[in-house]
């Protein structure tokens, strides 16, 4: 076994400096690194850029707390019956969050360019959309003469990727169950990779089915073990979305809610 990469959640969050760009794993209310997101708020981070194809609670609470001021995102919502992410919406409408609007697949394309070590990445579609002009994306002719014109997305290399997984080893291997969402490309495109895991697992267990591992240790800088850390979202197959908490989050618009919410989060009962 190599050196342990296990650190506290506070340590994990402290590695992300003000102004950093951070890709967040999961999708909407599912398997987001929400404990880490809350810890960023507790530590009073400022001017973060958030990258995620489909953020929801995470980007919303970071806007609510004034932590994020830039975002590159595909679609933002609380989903289910909750619709839009209200504090995110307000932050965009009031100009407090500088938005670079993507299609999910264009954000992925930019991350692929970073992961593949190339400056740009062709992507299918986009024809007729106003998004390319908005973002200054370029269209290239096929140099091989097919007459296809293809949009290319510039390299997107987040300073950090933070993902929430079911299980990790002390050496930094990580695996999820169910869909990995966009976590694979995030962990390959980012400069540094931080993991939040429900559970520390012996290496033998991973070695028995190495095919299941999503992030090998060599990509991982540090791991925090936070049971229930994706709350109030889900972490398949361990727990479901806590909808009453999401309802309270949406309904209680008073100043005090955020403090109360941060105080009752599961990570306050661990490490």
């Amino acid at each position: 076994m190599s050196r342990s990469k296990i650190v506290s959640l506070a340590d994990l969050a402290s590695r992300i400096p003000d102004g950093a760009s951070v890709a967040l794993g999961g999708s909407f209310l599912h398997r987001g690194p929400f404990a880490l997101v809350r810890e960023l708020i507790r530590q009073g981070k400022r001017n973060l850029e958030i990258l995620k194809q489909s953020p929801g609670y995470d980007i919303d609470i970071l806007c609510r707390a004034g932590v994020a001021d830039r975002a590159r995102v595909g679609i933002v919502a609380m989903e289910g019956n909750f619709g839009m992410a209200p504090w995110y919406r307000k932050a965009v409408e009031q100009g407090r969050l500088k938005l670079e609007e993507h299609a999910c697949a264009t954000l992925t394309a930019g991350m692929r360019a970073a992961a593949f070590g190339v400056p740009f990445q062709p992507v299918g579609g986009l024809h007729g959309s106003d998004l390319p002009e908005l973002n200054g994306w370029k269209k290239l002719p096929d140099p091989y003469g097919s007459n296809e014109e293809t949009w290319v997305i510039p390299r997107i290399r987040p300073d950090f990727a933070v993902i929430h997984v079911a299980e990790a080893t002390a050496s930094g291997d990580a695996r999820t169950f169910g869909t990995p969402n966009w976590d694979h490309i995030m962990t390959r495109s980012a400069g540094r990779v931080l993991i939040v895991a429900e559970k520390l697992v012996e290496e033998e267990v991973f070695a028995q089915q190495p095919e299941l591992t999503l992030v090998p240790r060599l990509l991982t800088e540090a791991v925090a073990i936070v049971p229930n850390g994706a709350w109030p979202g889900s972490c398949w197959p361990l727990y479901e979305v806590d909808y009453p908490t999401i309802e309270a989050y949406m309904d209680e618009k008073n100043e005090g809610f955020l403090d109360k919410h941060l105080a009752e989060a599961p990570e306050t009962r661990h490490g």
């Binding site: 995110y88 919406r89 993507h102 299609a103 299918g124």
Partner: protein, 243 residues
């Protein structure tokens, strides 16, 4: 005709776009699309492949989730067909039918899910592009839905073109549109509505040649929808009204 609720009109109307042996996709933030796909599996005899944003391929979820991206939608699936995989499938032209959300739709089936008003100084910021800008032009067919049928959502001119390429179909509480010669044409109106009402409540002009009242749900469609929404929660939450 209370038994053909506007809720059922959308869900069943969408399901009827699904064809045998095709690959059909439902994504995030798409409760109606999820219900339509699951409904088609239960109501129709033909085989088709249902893939969803939770990575499920013909899943057998133990409950029907509020969130259309809930990982339960991969339960029973023999594989996780992940996000990169299904986007790539679509981009290389092998996605037969894609259900894609929209806030505004124009007569060519283009969509706006970005902003109401000027994008840079939005009156209302919307959820954003999601899959549309890449999937709408690359899927073989795409179908959308609106729970509100009004000139505010079915518009002459979009505030912003998030996705182009043109929807093949559109389901609303009172109408079913299908693409004909590059534009959305009326195919059916809800039996409790009328051609006149659809015209009055649609911002874009459309061809209505051959349009008829929507065929009533079959017993199997009705039963399938009831089995998916046992307690009527989805119908209550969606709160779709004919008018």
């Amino acid at each position: 005709m209370a038994e053909f609720s506007p809720f059922a009109h959308i869900a069943i109307g969408m399901a009827r776009f699904i064809r045998p042996d095709e690959v059909t996709f439902s994504g995030v933030n798409s409760t109606f699309a999820m219900l339509a796909c699951l409904l088609a599996k239960r109501a129709y005899d033909f085989d088709f492949t249902y893939i969803n944003v939770a990575g499920g391929v013909d899943p057998d979820p133990s409950f029907i989730p509020l969130s259309s991206s809930d990982p339960v939608l991969s339960q029973g699936s023999c594989s996780i067909f992940d996000n990169e995989d299904f986007y790539d499938l679509c981009c290389r032209g092998k996605m037969d039918l894609c259900f894609l959300g929209a806030a505004q739709i124009d007569g060519e089936g283009r969509t706006n899910v970005s902003a109401i008003g000027d994008w840079h100084k939005p009156k209302v910021r919307l959820p954003g592009g999601g899959g549309g800008a890449v999937m709408l032009p690359t899927a073989r067919r795409a179908v959308t839905w609106r729970t509100e049928h009004s000139p505010r959502s079915l518009v002459q001119k979009l505030d912003f073109v998030t996705a182009s390429g043109g929807m093949h179909g559109l389901a609303t509480p009172i109408a079913i549109f299908e693409k004909r010669h590059g534009r959305l044409a009326l195919k059916h109106w809800h039996p409790d509505s009328s051609l006149e009402e659809v015209i009055a409540r649609t911002g874009f002009s459309f061809d209505a040649i051959g349009a008829t009242p929507t065929p009533l749900p079959t017993d199997r469609e009705r039963e399938a929808l009831a089995s998916l929404d046992k307690h009527g929660t989805f119908e209550r939450d969606a709160n779709v009204r004919l008018r």
